[in-house]
Amino acid sequence: MRAFVYDRPAAVDEAVATVAADPQAAFLAGGTTQVDLMKDGVWTPDRLVDITRLPLRGILVESQQLKVGALTTMEELAAEPVVAQRLAFVRSALLQGASVQLRNMATIGGNLLQRTRCRYFRDPTVSACNRRSPDSGCAAVDNVARMHAVLGVDERCIALHASDVAVPLVAVEASVLVTGPSGQRRIPLTEFWVRADEGPSIENVLGHGDLITELDIPLLPSGWRSGYLKVRDRASYEFALTSAAVALQMDGDMIADIRIALGGVGSVPWRAREAEEMLRGTHVDPVRFEQAGRATMASAFTVPGTAFKVDLAVRTLSRQLLTMTEASR
């Protein structure tokens, strides 16, 4: 691991100023991705600004939304009763992610900023990685790939965004508050990440010194229900092969309104707006569920190791839609 200076400022402004002043500095939160990448030699900051003591931890429940401090842990957010009542798919995704130990460490802000689990990205002896070093190629496209993305990718990079909780968060249109060197701004999560096929070396719209201070999650209106289905290689403590986050409001046997996002398939958490359009205002129809899934996956870019994800994602979404409309059929 490369040597680094360790700072632990007491205030947000001080933390932002410290990182902004040093191009080789970075914030340190729960560390579950960062310390791992530093050990691997993939990430080599000269200065770490530990933000874990900043007053950014805790949840404020408002009538229409939750204001979640960026340093709130995944376990703490999952334990909030209002999340269980009004954002069931967020709770489900949280509790199906990682392990209790990791969820006790990982912050919600850090979860959104987690780096890809691509094994080639994480291996510094692999030189071909457009995400790490622009124009060096992509080892994943030409070698064994499985836990990789098929949407929002091309031959330059097939890195997956592996977060579970980010999937329902883009479905429900959560946003983050960011404090940076030039002040504060709000960024909707649907505009937060940059697709790999739009530039493999840029992961999100944050600039150097920008710090997520808060995540705002709109509560689902009463009458809506939601669920998160995760398909994986083992029953627990494993990343998704595919996943589907669905929130909907039924009117008899008709889908009055619906939000859909898919995980395990995209270089960014994948909002499936075309599927929503196809299903909104329609009667419950399993054939149409599959068509909506096919439409979402129509633009997939696959390599031999990831081709299975197209059918699996369609079936994952179909099954979740069937489960959630069962009482209405």
Binding site: A3, F4, V5, T32, M38, K39, D50, S99
Partner: protein, 172 residues
């Protein structure tokens, strides 16, 4: 402040890459002067000689290094020692009380909940927390909430039996 017995690592030179950490480990105050890169796992094992906490994968995948920080189970291999400054840390060495082993340790013995024993410290630390978290309602729930601790020997059924016995006894 009282310090722990000297570790195997020579005291680091005090410079910008060194950090002083004051924490309470198993009820006793400790002071570490360590390289900023030092993980909590390394500080516990090398600076405090508490080798009960095991280095398994060293990348947050196996759970062998599980300890409690301020009562919550975490992975000491992915936490910097500097990050527990001012915190309470409990390791497997801190489970036993004056009257002997922790009931969970006794249950692991009764149920033969290990073979090689390398993962056992982490299993115990998770199991003790799991009871406090109220997540021992069924065998399925125990398995789910112990899933961050891998056992290559495959002692899982015995581990679940040990946790179940203590959970039932505790009325959980």
């Amino acid at each position: 402040m009282k310090t722990t017995r000297s570790g195997t690592r020579a005291p680091a030179k005090q410079d910008q890459y060194t950090v002083d950490v004051f924490a309470v480990v198993n009820g006793a105050p400790v002071q570490w002067r360590v390289d900023t890169r030092t993980t909590l796992l390394e500080a516990l094992r090398d600076s405090s000689g508490l080798t009960g906490t095991k280095r398994g994968c060293d990348q947050g995948a196996c759970g062998a290094c599980t300890v409690h920080v301020d009562g919550a189970r975490v992975l000491s291999c992915l936490m910097l020692a500097a990050q527990v400054d001012g915190r309470q840390v409990t390791t497997v060495e801190g489970l036993a009380g004056e009257l002997g082993m922790h009931p969970m340790q006794e249950a692991f013995l009764r149920h033969d909940a290990f073979q090689c024993g390398f993962c056992t410290s982490g299993q115990l630390m998770s199991a003790v927390c799991l009871l406090r978290e109220g997540r021992a309602g069924s065998d399925a729930e125990i398995r789910e909430y112990m899933s961050g601790n891998l056992c290559r020997c495959g002692a899982y059924p015995n581990i679940v039996a040990a946790v179940r016995e203590i959970a039932d006894g505790a009325g959980a």
